[in-house]
Amino acid sequence: MTMHSITSSKLKTPEEAIDLIQDGDTLLVGGFGLCGTPLTLIDAIAMQTKAMNLTVISNNLGEAGKGLGKLLRTGHIKKAVGSYFTSNRDAVKAWKNGELEIELIPQGTLAEAIRAGGAGIAGFYIKTGVGTELAKGKEERIFNGERYILIEGITAKVALIKAWKADTLGNLIYSKSARNFNPMMATAAELVIAEVDEIVPVGELDPERIVTPHNYIDVIVESRYEKSGGIYVEKKS
């Protein structure tokens, strides 16, 4: 394999990429609401039935019928782990009907646990949640006279992330607040699939501006969405 073959070997279609997911897998999915969400990969999941019963770790479940909300309607999601599901009324309904398991984690704890998972950190002590219902069952410990709880790192089988540009090696840069959970998720899964708006030649991204180095990325997929009036819409094919 030469340098050239490395640089092209990560490129796949959304369908080829999603075919790597197995039934029952746990997925980290980037995004904050719909911002920085891999919409094309989600569409490709919705169109197949091989990989069902997914556990999705993501800050939200998109909105009703949009982003991860689409997969809730298609019945792909068994369990959701995240910080805020109230904004998707489908999620609330599905949970009430016993069709969806939910695990609630404070947003910063979720972000840090994913970073820890990718950084070889098995657990860490923070103040967030001390004395609340979300600390139940968690070990508490005093450091310098203050109460902390132990949070374990999070890893997953697969991460689906969204970046702005990738070079063909897989180095990534993000766009504004669409960065959010994506860089940590890129570090914390066995298989990392990055959906990007644009693929550029190696050398085009400033080494100081790269947020996710290429060794974190296994598969690169070009997005089937484009921005129109600042909003992501499906490309006309």
Binding site: F32, G33, L34, C35, G36, N59, S83, Y84, F85, T86, S87, A91, V92, W95, K96, I102, L104, I105, P106, Q107, G108, T109, A111, E112, I114, R115, I126, K127, T128, G129, V130, G131, T132, E133, L134, R147, W164, Y174, S175, K176, S177, A178, R179, N180, F181, N182, P183, M184, V211, K227, G229, G230, I231, Y232
Partner: protein, 222 residues
């Protein structure tokens, strides 16, 4: 009544805006706190942090400049002020937990007389969201609570002890309602300011929490 409630929320937001001074890094929670930017002078020198990864969040863009890659924690399109920076969610909450936010202005469902905050869950109802509030509670250097004095069914929100699930063991330093401003010092609630359209009697009647009255009790100006 709805109009009146809106006026109250504006009054609360305006009063809190006066607390925010040059150089402060401020995180604004959902609800009333999101109204505050309208009452900040661009020259006031306040830097807004948004937990989804922005320091230096600017006002809502014109329609033709909307970019949904650039949103607030309430998921509305925003702009970037001069000197803004972008970072990941883990770096953002490292900033929050590590004590690098000067002020968090948070909404609440209840506040106890010791300043404990309940702002994420209602007993007996579904608990499906917590967001970033629980990280801000122990992390911010100062917490200001923005809250209407009474619930929709006219129950006090300032209570002796929380009956709603707590957001953490850390207390707020300041509470601003449409009727009054309270401080919390050494676990004691102190009435600092009173709105001109209410009375001490009314505040006493609508506040379950026990509070002291500041020696130099003032009118609340917005």
């Amino acid at each position: 009544m709805l109009k009146k409630n809106h006026d109250y929320r504006i009054r609360i937001a305006k009063r809190i805006a006066k607390e925010l001074t040059a150089g402060m890094v401020v995180n604004l929670g959902v609800g009333i706190p999101t109204l505050i930017p309208d009452f900040l002078d661009p020259n006031q020198g306040v830097f807004l942090q948004s937990e989804n990864g922005i320091l230096g969040m600017g006002p809502t863009p014109a329609d033709e400049e909307i970019d949904m890659d650039c949103i607030s924690a309430s998921k509305h399109p925003v702009t970037l002020d001069l000197g803004a920076s972008i970072f990941s969610s883990s770096d953002s909450f490292a900033m929050i937990r590590g004590g690098h936010i000067d002020v968090a202005v948070l909404g609440a469902l209840q506040v106890s007389e010791k300043g404990e905050i309940a702002n994420w869950a209602v007993p007996g109802k579904d608990i499906l969201g917590v967001g970033g509030a629980m990280d801000l509670v122990p992390g911010a250097k100062k917490i200001i609570i923005a809250i209407t004095h009474l619930t929709k069914d006219h129950s006090p929100k300032l209570v002796k002890e929380l009956t709603y699930p707590s957001s953490g063991i850390r207390s707020a330093e300041m509470i601003v309602t449409e009727k009054a401003v309270f401080s919390i010092k050494d676990g004691v609630m102190v009435l600092e300011e009173i709105a001109e359209d209410t009375s001490l009697e009314e505040i006493m009647a609508t506040t379950e929490a026990r509070f002291q009255i500041a020696e130099n009790l003032k009118y609340m100006h917005v």
